[in-house]
Amino acid sequence: MSEQLDIVTLSPEETIEFGRKLGSQLKGGEIIALIGQLGSGKTHLIKGIASGAGAENSGSVNSPTFVIVNEYTGRFDIFHIDAYRLNTIVEFEMLGFDDYCYPNSIVIIEWADKIISALGTIDYIRIELEHKGQTARNIHIRNFPKHFVLTENKHI
């Protein structure tokens, strides 16, 4: 588990499409940590990941800033956590994070930088998003499984 890839997407649609490609290769049990500031495309990427992973209600993927955790069902149980409003690791643990992690679940955490120490030595896929232009985004993926085929992006 030490593959890494850096790509560029030029539009929200391309970000969703990349997420879909990634999501379609998940096998369950993965934890994905997303890092990137306001408007960097985290929610769009998750729309794609949920859709690719077979979530029945992937159309309803929206920002869980208010409710902290969204759940989507389908091939896997997908937990979409938003740490934007969390301030301490204890609050993150109080959410029941451990209960969300099981072989048939996928846990995706937005604003993961705020709670990264809580992940400790757990194996997780790390994705950083950066603003590159008005709609272009740099996406850096770290530590994804070797079996993943994430097509090299033509925009690099």
Binding site: L38, G39, T43, H44, G59, V61, N62, S63, T65, F66, V67, I68, V69, N70, E71, Y84, R85, L86, N87, T88, V90, E91, M94, L95, E130, H131, G133, Q134
Partner: protein, 345 residues
């Protein structure tokens, strides 16, 4: 002989207010107690779930007792206990639901489950005697932006909702970009009063010509680009802007949100042939939104009636829960002790 009135105890804990109210016959407010955590969350710039949950636990019974005392009723006068069990913050909802189930069991009173969003619309209908239906209903708050087709207080069909950020969330996040205080709704409205709403032409995302869904994430990002430069390389210039510049951004942002909310509401009203427009939720307290929606209703042919929730019932409260519960009480729709909170409805 006059029939005895129906007293319902309403309980609301879906986010950061702990609230209880006694409402008679669906519209006579005997008491309304709201313990807000806004002050507590202010320093964090948002709702903190663990703190919220702990606060609810500490406040729920004192708040319920206060509601009974203010209404000068005892448990014997209560006909049913109603609780908002969805949607909301799971850790917060569970406190109200547990309290309601406990009282229902201990007092042997029927339990009524209420949808928090539907209840927000009940706030708008509270004092209306001649409600003309169908109505199109907009609930707009920190966690929700949803349009409903309302055929009756109990028959609400979702027409559209946000596909990314809620309108109130956009207010909070833009306020944080502009270094304004939390909650963002009131602080942006206040700042916008001195600004020019046409200073900056922020995008109005309408998604598709017939769509009744909302998207506010692009608008939030547009404000961010405006402050940090299109390449996002610069620092946040909000730190060094004049008061006038900040006011202009706040006014232009608010105008963009209001424009989209009004356009979509009109679109939905036209689609279902609505005679009335209902407006509820925390963002419904925004005066610019109320005025623009009123104008839109007035200019429709035939004109539509706008029923906006009174400002004191825009934010979360338990009056709306107890009031809506009266309709369920009359219809004989009750929950049992297996009732669970649901984060999503």
């Amino acid at each position: 002989m006059e029939s005895k009135s129906v007293n319902i105890l309403g309980i609301e804990t879906s986010c950061d207010e702990t609230a209880a109210a006694i409402v008679a016959d669906g519209s006579i407010v005997k008491s309304s107690v709201v313990a807000s955590q806004t002050k507590l969350h202010e320093k964090y710039g948002g709702v903190v779930p663990e703190l919220a949950s702990r606060e609810h636990v500490e406040k729920i019974y004192p708040v319920i007792k206060e509601a009974l005392d203010q209404a000068q009723v005892t448990k014997d006068d209560i006909d049913a206990i109603a609780v908002a069990n969805q949607p909301g913050l799971a850790m917060a909802l569970v406190v109200g639901v547990t309290a309601a189930k406990t009282l229902s069991f201990a007092w042997q009173k029927p339990l009524i489950a209420i949808n928090h969003l539907h209840a927000h619309l009940q706030s708008a209908m509270l004092s209306e005697q001649n409600l003309e239906l169908p109505a199109v209903a907009l609930v707009v708050s920190g966690g929700h932006t949803s349009l409903f087709d309302c055929q009756s207080p109990l028959e609400l069909t979702l027409l559209g909702s946000t596909i990314d950020d809620a309108a109130g969330e956009a207010f909070d996040k833009v306020a944080s970009i502009l270094r304004l205080s939390y909650p963002g709704g009131p602080s942006i409205e206040k700042t916008a009063k001195n600004g020019n709403p046409k200073a900056i032409n922020f995008p109005r995302t309408l998604i598709a010509p017939n769509s009744l869904d909302f998207s506010f994430s692009g608008l939030k990002t547009a404000v961010l680009y405006h402050c940090r430069g299109q390449d996002m390389k610069g620092e946040n210039t909000a730190d060094s802007m004049s008061e006038q510049e900040i006011a202009d951004i706040a006014a232009s942002f608010q105008a963009a949100v209001v424009d989209v909310l009004v356009k979509k509401t009109k679109r939905a009203a036209d689609k279902i042939g609505a005679k009335t427009v209902l407006l509820g939720g925390g963002v419904a307290a925004n005066s610019a939104l109320r005025e623009a929606l009123q104008k839109s209703c007035d200019s429709s042919r035939p004109p539509r009636k706008l029923l906006a929730a009174p400002k004191k019932y825009c934010t979360d409260n338990a009056v709306m829960v107890a009031s809506l519960a009266y309709h369920k009480f009359k219809a004989g729709i009750f929950a049992d002790l297996s009732l669970e909170p649901k984060a999503h409805s």
